[in-house]
């Protein structure tokens, strides 16, 4: 884990130096193109709602801009940015829960793809896979989602979720195992079903 953190810190040294020498505006101008996509993807993985993810990502970046003069360099810049983003996402999730306490649709999804339903035969394999991913526990789902959003970079996922790389690898392994089990339970564990030609 350490090398990934070090490399992230060295990547952002220019931003930190610019922040100290020329102030917030110049530093943010360098930071924004570097992090806007990552912040947005993190919000998408955590919130599962593109509109809310966009709003929360923008809100996070405004927070980052406001907090930039107070950034003391104790944590790497990326960790600091992702911590702010995760906190904004948690607030957004809290707000969403307060508005619609029984809106989370795991049960709904489960009923939609209950074992033995004939819809499996006719539905698109990708749609089924998305539904199965939604059935995973939240921690597995967001790690797996972010892993593929970030071009399978364990180090980047670890930084974004603020966890050690070892934990991310274990979570990914368990998430895939849980997914395979779900597929097996539904008789969808034939590899041919998941190859591109069949999707």
């Amino acid at each position: 884990m350490q090398p990934a953190v070090d490399s992230a810190a060295s990547e952002d040294r220019d931003v930190v130096e610019l922040l100290r020498s020329e102030g917030r505006e110049r530093a943010f101008a360098l930071l924004l193109p570097r992090y806007e996509r990552k912040v947005f993807r993190l919000c998408c993985a955590l919130l599962r709602d593109p509109t809310q993810a966009q709003d929360t990502a923008q809100e996070s970046l405004v927070r980052i801009w406001k907090g930039l003069p107070g950034y003391d360099g104790r944590a790497s810049l990326s960790s600091w940015i992702y911590t702010i983003t995760r906190n904004r996402c948690l607030s957004a999730i809290e707000r969403r829960r307060a508005r619609a306490p029984v809106n989370d649709s795991e049960a709904e999804l489960e009923s939609q793809i209950a074992p033995g339903t004939e819809s499996h035969q006719s539905e698109d394999a990708s749609a089924i896979l998305r539904e199965l991913i939604d059935l995973l526990p939240e921690r597995y789902r967001r790690t797996l989602t972010l892993f593929y959003f970030e071009d399978r970079s364990v180090g980047e996922v670890a930084r974004q979720l603020g966890s050690p790389e070892g934990t991310i690898k274990t979570t990914l392994f368990r998430a895939r195992a849980a997914l395979a089990q779900l597929m097996q339970q539904r008789g969808l564990d034939d590899p041919r079903l998941w190859l591109e030609g069949h999707a």
Binding site: R41, L61, V62, W65, L129, F149, R152, A180, L195, E196
Partner: protein, 150 residues
């Protein structure tokens, strides 16, 4: 992650778990593509920052004005309180002197009218008036209806 496997790969039959893992990896790559940043995203961020900077620039001026107003109000309040205390003290001293003068001037006439117990009657009357004022004041402070309504 394992590389994607072809349909005809012998590993599909030889190691089903590994084959499923590889097929799943390729399917997940297709199903979970990186979301595209909305076209207006950066413009939205910069607009929000501009709004925030504007309100940040206004805030110190507003804060300074409010603080100045508050200081003025406090000064006025303190000046009013001091004035009230001075006025009350002046009224008390003036009232005491006036009462003394009235008593000194009226004493010969009172002695002739009331008799030898004039000092006792005057003291009792003064105490009664004082008590009535005191009770009325405390009733007023406690929120009870004034005496004249009973």
């Amino acid at each position: 992650m394992s590389p994607q496997m072809n349909d005809g790969d012998p590993a599909v039959n030889a190691a089903p778990a590994a084959a499923l893992d590889a097929a799943l990896d390729s399917a997940l790559t297709r199903v979970l593509p990186s979301p595209e940043l909305p076209a207006d995203f950066r413009a939205g961020v910069l607009a929000a920052i501009a709004r925030d900077a504007q309100s940040e620039a206004l805030n110190p001026a507003t804060r300074a004005r409010l603080e100045r107003e508050q200081r003025e109000h406090l000064r006025e309040f303190e000046a009013g309180y001091l004035q009230l205390r001075r006025r009350t003290l002046g009224t008390l001293i003036g009232g005491a002197f006036a009462a003394g003068t009235v008593v000194a001037l009226a004493l010969p006439w009172l002695r002739a009218t009331v008799g030898p117990h004039t000092p006792l009657v005057l003291a009792s009357a003064g105490a009664a008036i004082g008590l009535a004022i005191g009770i009325s004041t405390w009733l007023g402070r406690s929120g009870l209806p004034p005496l004249q309504r009973f």
